[in-house]
């Protein structure tokens, strides 16, 4: 994200704090897809991820006046999304998984070497990225897709900066292990 857009996001938040509905629409239009995708990768359920968006942006509407601009607005949004996603997962923990969800998890998480029939690195990589633990998935997404710096990831996840670096390193090692199990060697590690 450019410095210009970050500054413009802060202006939108200031307007939202004043009750500007149009500013809310602009902010929503700008960020809702990324918020949705981040939430979806965490909760793995489209319905819940859609509910998350409404809750995240409603929090923004309510809390905009307290935003101090210490971090980028997009970082703030992802931190709220993560918090809401983890709460949703906790709520769902004891609930019975429906067949569709269970099958989806089985297909992608439990057995990547079986699901990766084609020896196509790109395809296998995507399947293995999906198979990572939630902890590893979120850090990979935050760094690669959401383009967050070490400091920003530390703020969103709530861990020290050095832990951010080592966690991503181990996520990458796990990814390499999954690919190896699927018969794909990439020369690292």
């Amino acid at each position: 994200m450019s410095a210009t857009q970050a500054a413009s996001d802060e202006i939108l938040i200031a307007r939202i704090a004043q009750g500007d509905r149009l500013a809310m629409q602009v902010l929503y239009g700008r960020h809702h897809v990324r918020v949705f995708r981040f939430g979806l990768r965490l909760v793995r359920n489209e319905q819940i991820a859609e509910d998350l968006i409404s809750e995240v942006f409603l929090d923004v509407w309510r809390q905009a006046g307290k935003f101090e601009g210490r971090s980028a607005v997009s970082t703030w949004l992802l931190a709220i999304t993560r918090f809401k996603a983890l709460s949703a997962l906790r709520k769902r923990k004891d609930a019975e998984l429906d067949d569709e969800t269970a099958n989806a998890i089985e297909d992608t998480s439990d057995n990547p070497e079986v699901s990766v029939q084609k020896k196509d690195t790109s395809d296998a990589l995507r399947k293995c990225l999906t198979s990572l633990s939630p902890e590893h998935r979120e850090i990979v997404d935050l760094v690669y897709y959401h383009e967050k710096s070490v400091e920003e990831v530390a703020e969103i996840v709530g861990i020290p900066e050095n832990t951010v670096k080592t966690r991503l390193f181990y996520a990458r090692k796990k990814l390499a292990d999954l690919l190896k199990a699927a018969g794909i060697e990439r020369g690292w590690p």
Binding site: S2, A3, T4, A7, S8, E10, I11, I13, A14, A17, Q18, G19, R21, M24, Q25, Y28, H32, V33, F36, R37, R41, E46, A49, E50, D51, I53, S54, F57, L58, W61, G65, F67, E68, G69, R70, A72, T121, S122, L125, R126, T130, V140, D141, V143, Y144, Y145, E147, S149, V150, E151, K165, T166, L168, F169, R172, L175, A176, R186, G187, W188
Partner: protein, 244 residues
């Protein structure tokens, strides 16, 4: 014994190795990016690992992009909830940073022309220099901002905290440094840093380099070295060297 055999030997990443994913994503500051580039040029093993990371980076983007977008139901639900919220008074306090950003964003040539306050003009020019460099830093093609149009110190009101006027030539010049800010630095961060160090933008050169003046007094060599050290420890500063 059991615990011993279950223990997997841990391999911590090297300092540069740990930064490779951020280098691939282009989110390192200039100093770290340079360090990683230098290491990549010298170490073929690291370069091999970097190629693997670039592949992971591309596929992570591809995977996320394939997730699609939410339906309009989410937006309808949100605005229904907002409509049900109590009406705002309009006097909610807003963060300092947002107010500064709002101020910068509201500037226009017309505003500048209408401004009779010399101090305000000085601050606006400074904001313009920061904004220009931040907006055009990626292309490395911004124009050098000039302080020639800034008012003379004599006409500047005493309430102005940062003056753009050049130092008098008759006395020893106060300390000036070339400073490059990190790509992630925002206008509000830079403004806060200038305030904290009593810094003034004198001008800006190529590649996002600012020439800054610190205070109005001459510093000793040790003081200058200390200042450079403190600046280089700031997250938003990627380089600070003494200017002539």
């Amino acid at each position: 014994m059991m615990a011993m055999s279950n223990k997997v030997p841990t391999q911590e990443p090297g300092e540069i190795e740990a930064l490779l994913p951020w280098h691939a994503a282009g989110t390192l500051n200039a100093r770290d990016a340079r360090r990683v580039d230098d290491a990549l040029a010298k170490d073929p093993e690291l370069a091999k690992q970097y190629a693997v990371i670039q592949e992971e980076y591309a596929e992570t983007i591809g995977l996320n992009e394939s997730l699609g977008a939410p339906s309009s139901r989410a937006m309808q639900k949100l605005f229904a909830a907002i409509d049900a919220e109590p009406v705002r008074s309009g006097s909610t306090s807003v963060g300092l940073s947002a107010r500064i950003s709002g101020f910068f964003a509201s500037l226009s040539p017309r505003t500048l022309a209408a401004s009779a306050a010399v101090g305000a003009l000085a601050i606006m020019l400074q904001a313009g220099v920061i904004g220009t460099v931040l907006m055009q830093r990626d292309t490395h093609s911004f124009q050098t901002a000039s302080y020639e149009a800034a008012p003379s110190p004599a006409s500047a009101p005493t309430t102005v905290t940062r003056s753009l006027a050049p130092a008098p030539a008759s006395v020893e010049a106060p300390t000036r440094l070339f400073v490059r800010f990190a790509p992630t630095a925002r206008v509000s961060d830079i403004t806060a840093l200038l305030d904290g160090y009593q810094g003034t933008i004198v001008d800006s050169g190529k590649d996002g380099l600012f020439r800054l003046q610190f205070g109005n007094r001459v510093m000793t060599k040790d003081q200058i070295a200390g200042l450079i050290r403190r600046l280089e420890n700031e997250k938003i500063v990627s380089m600070a060297v003494q200017a002539q």
